[in-house]
Symmetry: D2
Subunit: 177 residues, 4 copies
């Protein structure tokens, strides 16, 4: 069955975006890539600082409200429709709810052929990379490193702690059918 | 009929993005906004410099190839599916093909209730604003100012030449039902 | 006397950056441009959220502490030294202290030939443009619109309320000797 | 002798910016950081595509012209003056001319106490990270990896090929006196 979508899940600063760009470079077909970050950027500014929307606490905690969830569900429907219309799509996401987040995707996907990829990184290393990149609230990496993987099923997992983005991308690409 | 999508069309540097952010601020519901720029950003880097993808000439000309068109069509299907799933969505686009670009949207939309908005700006003013923003190839504004509107039908048009983004946004918001 | 530096002062969202880019385009010599924003970006992340550094309140208020002031004074010395070494330099700044901020520059400048430019914008218009640009804390434009000009001397003033950046830039360029 | 400036030199995508942000986090004093990138960004747009300014070839080659060199020399004078005025300053640079670039800094520095740091990364690894970051012309990393270090003297060298930015930063910080 031809892979129609690749969904990467991992905590903040685990290295998902770098892997995505390498994947886009090594996959022979042109795969557009969308992420939960691009969805958040698409929201009205007021929702990025509202209990109904999404809030980023000073300690790196992230909470989302009912309006956010409703729009996110519609966004997932849109992404799946894009894939059904013929585009091969890469998604990078942060499963704040662990397996529940995966189930939300599965519900939207129907039977669409997806490659599930876990992107791991040791918490302390991700936290240090969070400092190095300089554009994230400190604490997000550590608080998300483990919880996003709880109960989640993967076709394969990569770990960026000691492996370069490009090497992870080649491993993933080898699993795309 | 409740407006489910707002599609703004205008040339580069006509002021679409500013209007979109103001619209998001003045509309009572939370409308996520997506643009052709975000779609281009989602493509593999190699497609942003390829005849099959999208090329930006030194004089501001923009050409797109067959692969780009195929993925863009799937992207439009995804956007419409998101709206059908319950999100109210704002799109800002540049109809490089004029009325043909609009027809591609209409085909994807089926009967979905859309507010069509033309965003105009005098060519010379848009060209000067292109210099002021500093992040666009010079010449795009002038080359797109007129051609993107050719044969296109609108529910309303705004002109940013002498009118602020917020004022344009309030005018548009008043037409949302 | 040949103008060696152009210092623009105005509140947030008054349109300084756009004017600077247009100035760089219309001035025949190559003028590098630096702003208080680039100085703030150069600081350690922890100083951008510290009483000793610079803090941005939720209502748009900006406060700076002793460490910030000390580093900013050294930065001004550096900018002036660059101009003395032969570069013609454009600065865009926000005189949070009004005339006191100008006096700090004058102390650093010695007798260097400067063109002082006030960039004004009606408070309500600047506040609406703050929404349109979408990357600033709301309230900064309104809270700074008047106070930054208090007691400040200018060689010329421009007002972006009804005048395009490029037109302002040409007016300023005509005063460069 | 108290270290007044830290100058990091390394090729594109060797990891300088990440190390700089970690250095800013671990050093007890607040060190502002400036880089050759911020200087290039300060130039008029037309100089970023001109033989007199700086040009980026499609293969990653970078050439600079006479006007660029003159302004860069003035910029170095300004940076050193900032340090003389009391700020401790971090610079990240790409010594396109190898030891000649270092000599230009030495001439500007006079006897100011500097810590010279070489930032190395295996060419193939830097080239892969260039793909992962996605915002650089491909080929820059490989073409600069060795040449920027030719004949250059360092107080210490770090290598990001197998060492995290934060670990490199701690090593450097231990050499700051």
């Amino acid at each position: 069955m031809t892979t129609r979508m690749i969904i990467l899940n991992g905590g903040s600063s685990a290295g998902k975006s770098g892997i995505v760009r390498c994947l886009q470079a090594v996959l022979p077909d042109p795969w557009p890539a969308f992420g939960c970050d691009s969805f958040v950027d698409a929201l009205p500014a007021r929702m990025r600082a509202s209990d109904e929307g999404i809030t980023f606490a000073a300690d790196g905690g992230v909470s989302v409200g009912a309006e956010f969830r409703a729009l996110e569900a519609a966004w997932r429907e849109g992404v799946v429709a894009m894939a059904r219309a013929g585009a091969k799509v890469i998604i990078d996401d942060v499963f704040l709810g662990g397996v529940e987040s995966q189930q939300r995707w599965q519900k939207a996907l129907g039977g669409l052929a997806v490659l599930w990829v876990g992107v791991r990184c040791e918490s302390a290393v991700a936290a240090a990379r969070e400092v190095a990149r300089g554009d994230r609230v400190q604490g997000m990496a550590a608080s998300q490193a483990e919880v996003v993987h709880e109960g989640v099923f993967y076709d394969l997992e990569v770990d960026t702690t000691h492996t370069e983005s490009m090497v992870c991308a080649r491993t993933i690409a080898a699993h795309v059918s």
